[in-house]
Symmetry: C2
Subunit: 119 residues, 2 copies
Amino acid sequence: MLINELSKKTGLSIHTIRYYENLGMIKGLTDEKVKSNNYKHYNSNTIERLEIIIEAREVGFSLAEIKKILTSWFETTDSKPETLELFQAKIKEIDDKMKYFKQTKRLLEKVCEKIQNDD
Amino acid sequence: MLINELSKKTGLSIHTIRYYENLGMIKGLTDEKVKSNNYKHYNSNTIERLEIIIEAREVGFSLAEIKKILTSWFETTDSKPETLELFQAKIKEIDDKMKYFKQTKRLLEKVCEKIQNDD
DNA sequence: TAAAAGTATAGACTTCGCTCTATGCTTTAT
DNA sequence: ATAAAGCATAGAGCGAAGTCTATACTTTTA
């Protein structure tokens, strides 16, 4: 599929997809058989990768961090202990953030109660 | 307490604290009795506010949004329905983000398993 | 009393993550 | 065959959230 279809399937703008491609987070391939253009083709793996990007950026991970996650998940075969440690640290980060989420949610709920009781 | 102490108690840099003060998210008071300087004094309420800021920015809320939360929590007495709706929407946002958190956490756990099994 | 450290204000600079514009080539539609 | 739409690259611009620097005054310390 070409970039337009990819954009529609993921909900990301064409500009954003190209931005991620420039950062090396996804990769389209130009069809060797067609030499008249250099249009890039994307496959279902690209969609998978973009969905992971969307999820992880919601969590607040930087694009650089997300790139590492993608590499370890899709490309790397070696099992470096430091990579393992990195991701274990990320899991801990998520758990920590969950705490902030729960606290902030509770605060917002209290704010709502306060507003409703001020009638 | 002066800004240096506030910085140490919250872990935020003096620059960041001043930045938040310029945005109107916190407010220090100059001691009227001391006219020779205009040093600002902060109290425990400022610490509370900064702790809320730290929590909520982890959640991904913008400083403008956080400012609204602070105002509703500490200052406002009126109960506008649109404010209530705003915060209810924010609570929903948090719930949605929680889903992404769980998915990303699961992915990271799988990445860790993959690394460990590749031995 | 002189030096060092703390405080305030203003504004420049930086990074991140887009977003948009210009230009030019290719393909599709009429 | 011409116009419209799609694709690519390069680079400019932007808003958010800091971060840093310069300058000047005040307070503390030696």
